[in-house]
Symmetry: C2
Subunit: 193 residues, 2 copies
DNA sequence: TCCTTTCTTGAATGTTCATTCAAGATACTC
DNA sequence: GAGTATCTTGAATGAACATTCAAGAAAGGA
């Protein structure tokens, strides 16, 4: 008997970062070895192949982001304030120009869109799940009387998500903090109007 | 003496489509051969290498998109109506789920961001140029009294562009026409409010 | 302490790919 | 119509890559 030596979560987070900064196709096994510290054999033993590593990394990313998202919504503050804080954190993430600036879901969706239906489904489903989480928050905001009852929570969630996508792409060309904050501010205003 | 047989613009448009549907890294020379009808030797003779082909395709894309954009702004109609028509055309393009749905600029920016500074600069500059074209339209809209004079044209252009980016990404997960049209409609309202 | 089981290692493998190049084809010039 | 310059062709090349595997290392059980 002998247990695996590596920490699965750490390895997956390293792999996530590698995929986010270089993309899946441009990340070689050597890059992965450098990032994770694991030799090819171990990777193949644990995740079957490079694609399997991406699938596992996507799942870990989902878990991490869901946990992170929940932490932005403490019940002692209003949902709308929390949404604002969350949006500001997205901007902060965009500004801190490290390789983690992209979203692994959208990046993978973009790269493997037409070529890998399973990955397309996984990423689409996860983004839809995030959208639903947002819709739940808007529904809650109605109960707190922060937004009008006649508003459609699902539409608001879609629009907010669209804004985040846009913000992220925009940040790749203009990483100027002031500009990004201004855009986020208007997005927030427009959604909560 | 002998002239080249192929039509450079046609070849570049075929290459553009190949790169947009599969991405740069995932498009092999065989794919390019199939798409353009040109054998490797001819490609290398005309564009130096695969990357050179991308650079030429990016330039052609810019030219094509600038021409297309101008056609959306006939002077016999109001700028705001033209902007609306343009936005609707973006949605239509997203819906017609063919491989041309993505924008070659953002796709290339996403894929080669950290690895190729020259391509990063080219794509960023071209997107900034597009943003300026939008700002000009908003400035013009002020003169037509369609938007308030105190509005900042540059901010409006950035926000509008952010919306287009978001719309395009959103369309990859939800290509439902009604939803996309609704999002575009609100974007238009929010910008012109 | 030794044995067995499992994990780790990294060189070897075979494939895919961008790129090259020499032979062949074609159009233009004189 | 012959000669030449240029373009086209596609097989050959070599590099990079994902993947495999057999040998070595380490941990737990007896």
């Amino acid at each position: 008997m002998r247990n695996a030596e590596f920490d699965r979560e750490k390895v997956l987070r390293s792999a996530m970062n590698a995929f986010m900064s270089k993309g899946f196709a441009n990340t070689s096994m050597q890059d992965i070895k450098k990032a994770t510290g694991l030799h090819p054999g171990s990777i193949y033993c644990a995740f079957e192949n490079k694609r399997g590593l991406l699938l596992a990394a996507l799942e870990q990313y989902r878990l991490d982001k869901e946990t992170e998202f929940k932490q932005f919504f403490p019940t002692n503050k209003s949902v709308t304030d929390n949404l604002k804080t969350y949006l500001e954190s997205v901007v902060t993430e965009c500004i801190s120009c490290d390789n983690t600036q992209a979203c692994l879901m959208t990046k993978s969706l973009n790269e493997t869109a037409e070529q890998d239906l399973e990955i397309q489904k996984i990423t689409s489903d996860n983004l839809a799940r995030f959208q639903q989480a947002l819709a739940d928050k808007f529904e809650q905001a109605k109960k707190e009387n922060s937004i009008a009852l006649e508003k459609n929570s699902e539409h608001l969630a879609r629009y907010f998500l669209m804004g985040i996508y846009g913000l992220r792409t925009f940040a790749q060309t203009h990483p100027e903090p002031i500009v990004l904050k201004q855009l986020a501010e208007q997005l927030y205003q427009d959604v909560l109007r």
